[in-house]
């Protein structure tokens, strides 16, 4: 029985196919301004016994083609638990939201924390900062690893931090140092969210931002634990959604 999992995030949409509890196929596309059309294209040649949607567009999906919905919290819990059965703590940094989730040993969600309405410490934050420095996100992550020196970015508000970066550029601060400081700032934010749910091993880092090598390194250094990173961190939510249909 093929089950579909669809994760409609603010930046990307992921669709996976799960059969016999195993991930068979997955694809990620940009959300764009027309997520519904993107979903239709993704779903065009596929048929599922059940399609479960998650992510901020889950209700849109349910109104149109999904059979049911679950929240991203539950989706990441299910996805991470399947990939890493020992997982007890999850950090998921997506385009718009950052989530810290703690799991009971059986994989149940024990507690969770989410960032407030602002984009502090999310993928969006990185995106805005990269643009302010004339870099792509990948470039920014790369140059941040070039230096150990960092400048302190004191503002976590995306808009204020952008002004701060503009100010630093005007003062002639080298871009690698600014980039490093920005990654440290996100790391701070993620760690404080994680501490509120409690950090217990094993710790999984999922969501699109988990592809950023600088942040991974900084988090591991700070948390003093190795992070488990899914092979494709952007598919975990969609996979969790599909797995929920098997329960």
């Amino acid at each position: 029985m093929a089950i579909g999992g669809l994760d409609i995030g603010s930046r990307t949409i992921a669709l996976v196919e799960v059969e016999d509890g195993e991930l068979r196929w997955g694809k990620v596309v940009a959300t764009t301004f027309d997520p519904l059309e993107q979903c239709r294209q993704l779903l065009a040649d596929r048929s599922f016994e059940v399609l479960v949607a998650t992510g901020y567009g889950r209700h849109l999906a349910q109104a149109n083609f999904a059979d049911r919905t679950i929240t991203e919290i539950k989706a990441f819990a299910l996805g991470c638990h399947r990939l890493f059965p020992e997982c007890r703590t999850i950090l998921d940094i997506g385009g718009q939201d950052t989530k810290a989730i703690s799991l009971a040993p059986d994989g149940r969600v024990a507690d969770f924390q989410m960032n407030d309405r602002c984009a502090a410490g999310t993928g969006k934050f990185l995106e805005v900062m990269a643009a302010a420095m004339g870099l792509t996100i990948d470039e920014m992550g790369r140059i941040a690893l070039e230096t150990e020196a960092e400048v302190k970015i004191s503002s976590m508000c995306t808009v204020f931090a952008e002004s701060e970066v503009t100010g630093l550029i005007a003062r002639g601060t080298p871009r690698p140092e600014i980039a490093r400081g920005l990654h440290e700032a996100i790391c701070d934010r993620a760690v404080s969210l994680l501490k509120r749910v409690g950090v217990e091993r094993e710790v999984v880092f999922a969501g699109g931002v988990a592809r950023n090598p600088c942040l991974r390194a900084l988090l591991e250094r700070r948390l003093k634990v190795p992070l488990l990173i899914p092979e494709d961190p952007q598919l975990v939510g969609a996979m969790g959604a599909a797995l929920s249909a098997l329960q």
Binding site: Y56, I70, T71, E72, I73, K74, A77, L78, D97, G107, R108, V109, D111, F112, M114, D116, R117, S244, Q247
Partner: protein, 428 residues
């Protein structure tokens, strides 16, 4: 021009801005309240009162004043309603629950002050609240720094009298508060030019106690599982109780309770089987603030209890009606109010104990803590409440928000995740 337009104009209402406000209310009401399924018939009265929120009830206030009575506006459950009634006044609760003219309010108040205070001044400055414009006196209180300073601003626009609410509950605090209750009575007597006698005061105490008894009866019925009334309807009843005629409201709440008792006996509930039972705790939700309750209930749970000023804090505990004389009766009134577990008190272990009691008595599955951004007393107490509930294994969700709709999606995700945690058999 309709009859109400004439009345509103007479009160100094900005008719154009007011018409704009009245336009947004019906769709909000439809979406949050009327769209609920299987509502009790007894809610029709409250639907009617709300539909006439700025009409019939305001007309009653106007007529009352024309007959020589006074109208007194309050902002807090600490202001003794029975004193106002005994002085021949009508008491109306004034805290505003919608974002109105924040840019006007921000000319007098900092941007980062709680939504309730900012909204209250916004309503006043935009001249869209016929209640505040009907008031002969506004009674403020020192329940937080923001309000304390706000009343100075408001006092420049309208007569404001401020009660000093103590912040501890020691013997000398009680003495101060008993004195404050007498000081308010004297101020009301000065306003009306009449001395309040023992029988008038006793009658007022009985009247308001009856209202509390009816509202407490409704709370008892909220223990039913599956629920016989939604949390949103219960919240609406409590919000309306702040401004409707107390005797009439008491009758209508009792009639609603009769119906709910029949429902319960028939095994009829608002929505089928068991739903996760949520305790909503924290800041008040003045009309028309239904945002969080609606999110919870449209996500599949029921708000089974409100530990808020627009909930149990408003009507818990009665005044001793049999107190022997004027002095004893005034003391009983003061003492009843001092039992309200407002977050301004220190230490405030009583509030946490009360929450734990409610969690047990109402078989609560999870607590949603609603804090208005910048409300220090309630935002700080959230930490202690969470710690205590964790010991009991009760999931706790903290939501810090305001009256805007911009965060509805994020709040929904968190609430739905909480419900997934406590609600589903398959538990994530």
């Amino acid at each position: 021009m309709s009859e109400y337009d004439v009345m509103w104009e007479g009160l100094g209402i900005d008719l154009e801005a007011h018409a704009g406000l009245l336009e947004v209310l019906p769709p909000m009401y439809q979406e949050n309240i009327l769209s609920q399924e299987n509502r009790p018939r007894g809610m029709e009265y409250f639907d009617f009162v709300f539909s006439e929120v700025h009409g019939l009830r305001v007309k009653e206030l106007v007529e009352h004043r024309e007959g020589g009575g006074v109208v007194v506006g309050t902002f807090c459950t600490y202001v003794s309603e029975e004193l106002i009634v005994a002085a021949g006044g009508i008491c109306v609760g004034l805290c505003a629950g919608a974002q109105v003219a924040p840019e006007e309010a921000e000319k007098h108040l900092p941007r980062n002050i709680c939504a309730l205070i900012k909204s209250s001044l916004g309503f006043k400055l935009a001249k869209v609240c016929p209640y505040i414009e009907s008031c002969d006196l506004l009674v403020g209180e020192t329940t937080c720094d923001g309000k304390k300073k706000y009343f100075e601003v408001l006092g420049e626009l309208q007569p404001v009298y401020v009660m000093e609410v103590p912040q501890m509950k020691l013997e000398h605090d009680r003495d101060l508060w008993r004195l404050e209750v007498r000081r308010l009575l004297a101020r009301l007597e000065e306003l009306t030019g009449k001395k309040v006698g023992l029988e008038e005061l006793r009658d007022a105490v009985r009247l308001i106690n009856e209202k509390r008894r009816a509202l407490l009866r409704l709370e008892e019925l909220r223990k039913s599982d599956p629920p016989v009334i939604s949390g949103r309807d219960a919240l609406l009843v409590s919000q309306i109780a702040f401004y409707d005629d107390p005797a009439r409201l008491t009758d209508k709440v009792n009639a609603l309770c009769d119906e709910l008792e029949e429902r319960k006996a028939r095994g009829e509930s608002i929505g089928g089987a068991h739903r996760p039972r949520i305790l909503l705790s924290g800041c008040p939700m003045a009309l028309p603030n239904w945002k969080v309750a609606t999110i919870i209930e449209t996500s599949g749970a029921v708000v089974a209890m409100d530990e808020m000023c627009t909930g149990i804090r408003y009507f818990d505990n009665l005044v001793d009606e049999d107190a022997a004389d004027m002095e004893a009766l005034l003391d009983s009134i003061a003492d009843r109010y001092l039992k309200i577990h407002c977050a301004i008190f220190t230490p405030n272990g009583e509030r946490v104990e009360h929450i734990k009691e409610l969690v047990r008595d109402y078989r609560i599955d999870a607590v949603v803590y609603y804090a208005l951004q910048f409300c220090d007393p309630y935002t700080v107490e959230a930490f202690g409440v969470q710690r205590e509930l964790e010991k009991l294994g009760i999931p706790f969700l903290y939501l810090e928000t305001d009256y805007s709709a911009e965060d509805v999606e994020q709040l929904s995700t968190r609430v739905q995740a909480l419900i997934e945690m406590v609600g589903s058999e398959d538990k994530a």
